[in-house]
Assembly symmetry: C2
Homo-oligomer: 96 residues x 2
């Protein structure tokens, strides 16, 4: 569980390169075999950008590839107490 | 080729339900076995929303499921003539 949490990068509103560096360092400095990039709603586009930049620009020579991409929906209550659905995405990167 | 084009929905800035209806009708009215939802850049989040709403809310009883999700990068020249990368996504839905 702790191991899983460490290998997960949640995409939000911080500067773009923070997330790219986070992914790259998991593989290079921390020796992770698998890293999951997670995002919800509008941050999904960003998660794809992070995965693409990390794998193509920085991790090419490290043999990192996309293992799996999953999409899903989560229901939550908004401020008005209404049930709202938000899409979620998991991009799993793996070291070959 | 013509068949492939017909079964592809490109996500852009039109009203959200246009795209959902487009996907749903490909399967229900036009009898498609496979539909691909394509998007680039910021429209990727929207493509995931379209796939989720179409499959969960409208196509549940039709046995439609996600077959494959692919992400990629495309290079293009922006207005200033600079090479810029944009992420792309294909979500392939299939009738079981």
């Amino acid at each position: 569980m702790a191991d899983n949490d460490e290998n997960t990068i949640f995409i939000g509103g911080k500067p773009f390169m923070n997330y790219v560096t986070g992914v790259v360092m998991q593989f290079t400095t921390k020796g992770a075999k698998e890293v999951t990039i997670k995002a919800r709603g509008k941050f999904i586009s960003r998660a794809v950008d992070v995965a693409e930049v990390a794998t193509r620009r920085f991790l090419k020579e490290h043999g990192i590839e996309i293992k799996d991409i999953k999409i899903n929906s989560e229901e939550f209550k908004n401020k008005e107490g209404k049930n709202v659905n938000v899409s979620t995405m998991d991009i799993v990167l793996v070291k070959k």
